[in-house]
Each structure stands twice: as C-alpha cells, then as structure tokens.
Amino acid sequence: MAVISYRQALHDTLRTELDRDSNVLLLGEEIGVFEGSYKITAGLLTEFGPERIRDTPISEEGFVGAAIGAAMLGLRPVVEIMTLNFSLLAIDQIVNHAAKMHAMFGGQVSVPMVIRTPGGGGQQLGATHSQNIEVWYAHVPGLKVVAPATPADAKALLTAAIRDDDPVLVLENLALYNTKGEVPDGEQVGEIGRAAVVRPGTDLTVVAYSRATVVALEVARQLADDGVSVEVVDLRSLRPLDRGTVCASVRKTSRAVVLEDDWLSYGVGAEIAATIQEGAFDYLDAPVRRVAAAEVPLPYAKPLELAALPDAAALTKVIHEVLDATRFTR
C-alpha cells in the first residue's frame, strides 16, 4: 500500500496494462514526445516505442474513430483526449459509432476501447476549456462511463475499463491529478457499475463523483466536529448508475444533497434527485437539494470563476438548510 498521486496511479496502470497485454496501445495528441499535456504518459514512449505510444495529429474525430476500428479488430486502444472539451470534435465517433456498433450489428462485433480525458474548471481556462459534460455520455446506452475520485479508484477503474470489451469513458479531472492517496499494490480490477459509501453517516447523504467527492468528504469531516453525521456516496460509475446504493443510503439518512461541478439544469444531480425521490420517497424528510455550477459560460476572471463554481462553503450552507428545514437537532 503506497501513497501516490492520481496522476501516478493512472500512469502506473497504463504501464502495467501495456506490459500485460500486447494488444493494448495508446493513441492521442502529445502523449509521446511531449510526454502528455498533463504528463500522465511520461516515459511510456521510451519504454514501449512509437507503435504502441502513438502521437496523433490534431484530428480528434480521426484518431478516436481509428481507435474504434482498431478495437473492432481486437486491439485494445486507450485514447487520450487532451480535455473533455475537445471530445466534442469526436462525439459522432463516440456516440454514433462506438456506442452503437455492438447492438446495431447484432452483437457480432465489440469495441474494447477506452477514452481517457480530464474534465473540470477552476483553472481559469475560460468558457471553452472548463466544461463538465460527462452527463452527455452518461446518457448514452452502449457506453460505460466511470469517474474515479481517488488514486486507488483511478487504478482500479482504469484497469477495469481497459479489460472491458465495451467502449468506456474514463473521466479524469484536472483538479485531481496532483491529489494523493493510498493505492493497494498488485492487480486491482474495479467494478464498473457500482457506487460506494466512502464515508458512513446517519444524518444526511451527500452524493457526488470525481472532484466533488473529495469536497464532500472534506465537508463531512468538518461537520462531524459539529456533531453532524454525513454519509458520502461516491457514484464512481455514471453509466451504469448504481441507484440501489444511493437509495439505500437515503432510506437510512432521510436527507440528501447532490454535489457536482457541472451546470445545474439537466446535470448528473438531476438524475440523482429524480432517482432518490422515486426510490426513497417515503423516507425523505426534505427535498433532495442540488449544489452545482452557475449556468453561464465559465468566465476567465478569477472572482467570476469562483462565484460560478460550487465549493465546500456552498455545500455546507445547503446541508445546514436541509438540516434546519427538517428540525434536525444534535
């Protein structure tokens, strides 16, 4: 059990899988000579060579689609899209092709590919480089979408994704790359489609994923000192979505708040709130509240960016509102 960064966990997992299975190859912009925009693939070109660590031109639709075709013939390509924002240029290949082929061709072919890409704002990258549109992919049958929050999950879920025969989107997060955590040694294959109670509690459930899970845990720790016991459910997998775990938690706590970095309307939080009100209706003491980003193209200026993005303070405020509305007493 070593303490390593989220970046390191991703890097090590890629290295292990490249070693383990000669059908695994990496494709993407600047992953080789440049060692990756965010250095996840640093050193891999030297170790595995240009055939398996393949730098691509700036052609998202072309190289993501090429990965699909390579996967149809049995390779297991792991594509890096520099940021989630640029996946819009490849989305026809991802949604109209990778997600459709297995069913549309009557189960005769599968597309064992992985798309790794970081989302998230807060880096002052402006409106076009700060989006969290994973909910779009989570909406699409035929895809699998995971969003690890910790180095350990990054390892386990990326491993599972690479060994899965369906197209899997592994959502990373710019703000998590440098975060550290304990990662079990040896092979760890995560389970796509399962959420986890990452902190048990009795008074209120916070549902989150990716960076928001880290914020939720921080808030839960703080509130524990005020005698509030917050349970944190980390979705881990957005598609399939583990509704059972979410509802079981709320049936226990009877209060729920969803935290996400994305815009509020039609976001992941909407599905979670809709699920909870149906799956735990009679257990709910108050409406499920959502804490999400303000619905504007994210501004560059720091004070505006800060105002637009959800944070621990906003989550804490809403948790207190829910507790007060339900006459919670310590």
Binding site: E61, G69, A103, G106, K144, P240, A274
Partner: protein, 350 residues
C-alpha cells in the same frame, strides 16, 4: 469489349453477380413500397459493375467498410441473399439479426465490417482497422488490407480529411474508394466539391489517386487490385474513384424530380447491366439462352430470398437487451418504458 485473355467463365460469373444484384435491388424497392421493408432503403441500381469489380479485387482475407448503399456489396461478397433480404425485413435471420436494417449490414465471417448511415462515419474506423493490420502483420503481397467505400458527396466532410491524413502519415494498408454516382441526394459533384476531380483530393496527403469508368467491371477490378497491391506491399494508402450513374432516386422514396426528363431518358440508355449483357453476347461469351438462364436464376434466387425472409421469425421484445453490452456489468439498465427506476423493495413506497 472484354479483353480476349479474360476467361469466359469469369466474365459470365461477373454477369451472374450483376444480374443478381439488379434483381435483388428491384425486388427490394418493391418490398419497400409494400412496406415489408422500413426505414431508409438505398439501392445500387446503376452501380452493379462497380460493385462486382471492386468485390472481385477484394480478397477474402481483406476487410470491407461500406456506406448505407451496400446491398450489392454484401451479395457480391458472398452473403446469402436470403439473410440479406431478411435483414431488410428486420428478421432474426438477417445478417445483423434485424438490428441494423438496410443501412447496417454486417458479417464478421465475410469481413464485411458494416454499412454505415452517418456520412463519412465509416472512414475513421476503416482507417483504424488498417492500423490494426499494420500493427500486427508485415507488409507483403499476401498481407491483409482494408477497402473503405464512400460516396462523392462524402469527400466534403471533415472525417475524409482526417482519415486520409492519418492513413498516409502512418502508412496504412487501406484503399479508399469514392463511388462517384455524380449525386449526393440532389446535389451534383460540381455543386459540392471545389475540386470536382475527386481522385485528385489525395493531393493534400500525397496519396496517389486514380479514376476509372465505374461501368467497366474489368477496369474497376484491375484498378482496385493495383491499389490494394500497393497497400499490401508498400503500405501505400490509395484513393480510387469510380464514375457511374445513380439510375434512380437517392433512396426508394425519392422520386428525383430534380432531374430533367432528358437526363432520366438518357439514363435509361446508360444502364450498364444490359450493356454488359450485350457486350458478352456480342463477344460470344454468352448466347441468348445462357443469358436468359442467368437472368431467370437471379430472379429465382431473389424470390427464394424473399420467401426466406417472409418465413423467418421476427425478434421478440424479450430480446431487447440481448446486445446491451459485450461485457455484462452490474446495474446495466433493463427497464422498459414505464417501469419504476428502482426495482424491488427500493422501488416501493408505503
């Protein structure tokens, strides 16, 4: 005139394939009108020599990616007409199990890796298939290669540019074939492509281009063979343009009113199937009796195909989630419209 050295049985075989495709497509159009076939239905009428020539050049070890206008390719690639018609009928015996329909024929064994309905969508995956071949095998005359078909109108979409650039940059064993039938729906090549000599559009990637008469089955075959050979041996991607006419509307429902009466008249005389038939008769490769027999056999095959499709079972609703995922995982959604989202105890409320 077919070159003397071409064995007569080969030429007869080509005519047999053309006759089959022609009969199949006419019948498919009919079945569509009679609502036995749904969705969109695009026919290869007028492209028979192109289809047969290309498939004659493609070896069984090669991989094929096509467009939504692909019935003929499936037949020429050797798929049973019954299973192709059954797919158009949406039956479980169809080549894609009824999931794809006319636009999405697929057969893993025949290495027909799909018809694709999104214009240009097949180009990146075809390029990636060639990448897999390059990744695994060595170049050489017996190496495998990929053939990727596209229409003239499809040369204007971004995926064309990105795919050809990747193929050339990575030296992939692939031949892109532009089946130029002069129209994309109602739009002529001149109205859609700023370089209407489409075979020249490889210039931006240093990919050599060639253009052949799509009505000349032997010319098409030989040009495709040559391009495939360079792809196999030198990993030199190729761009081949075949030029023919789309004899009917874009799809069965299109009356093609945008075509002048003169053009429509002219097209009748340009029909390449009777022309090839006459050619073989003239060359003594066929006599009237042979030709009539071949035509009759084609009709019988197609009648049998329709019969097979008619008799085949429809898929049943319980099969809706059979192909949800290749690797099963927990919590995969299996809800029918109106089901509660959380099943079991969790879904109930007091």
């Amino acid at each position: 005139m077919p070159p003397e050295e071409e064995p007569p049985e080969v030429l007869r075989g080509y005519y047999r394939q053309m006759a089959l495709i022609r009969a199949f497509e006419l019948r498919a159009g009919e079945m569509y009108q009679r609502a036995r076939i749904g969705g969109y239905c695009h026919l290869n009428l007028g492209e028979e020599p192109t289809v047969v020539g290309l498939m004659a050049a493609l070896e069984s070890r090669d991989y094929l990616f096509t467009t939504y206008r692909e019935h003929g390719y499936a037949l020429a690639r050797g798929l049973e007409p019954g299973r192709v018609m059954a797919e158009l009928f949406g039956k479980t015996t169809g080549v894609s199990g009824g999931w794809g329909g006319s636009m999405h024929l697929f057969d893993a064994k025949a290495r027909l890796l799909g018809g694709y309905g999104i214009v240009g969508g097949q180009l990146p995956p075809a390029t990636g298939a060639a990448l897999a071949l390059a990744h695994r095998g060595e170049p050489g005359p017996d190496a495998e290669a990929v053939m990727c078909l596209l229409g003239d109108g499809t040369t204007n979409i971004g995926a064309f540019h990105e795919s050809l650039n990747l193929a050339a940059l990575w030296r992939l064993p692939i031949v892109y074939v532009i089946v130029n039938n002069r129209l994309g729906m109602g739009t002529t090549v001149e109205r859609s492509a700023a370089e209407p000599d489409l075979y020249k559009r490889g210039c931006s990637y240093r990919i050599p281009g060639a253009r052949v008469d799509g009505n000349d089955v032997l010319a098409v075959r030989d040009a495709a063979r040559a391009a495939l050979h360079r792809a196999r041996t030198d990993r030199q991607p190729g761009l081949l343009e075949t030029v023919s006419y789309r004899l009917r509307g874009h799809s069965v429902v299109d009356p093609a009113r945008y075509r002048s009466r003169e053009e429509t008249e002219r097209l009748r005389d340009l029909d390449p199937v009777p022309a090839f038939r006459a050619e073989l008769l003239g060359a003594g490769v066929l006599d009237e009796a042979d030709a009539a027999r071949i035509d009759a056999e084609a009709d019988q095959q197609v009648a049998a195909a329709v019969e097979f499709a008619e008799q085949s079972p429809d898929p049943t609703p319980d099969q809706l989630f059979t192909h949800a995922y290749a690797t099963p995982v927990p919590n995969a959604p299996h809800l029918l419209p109106g089901d509660p989202v959380v099943s079991g105890e969790a879904g109930l409320w007091r």
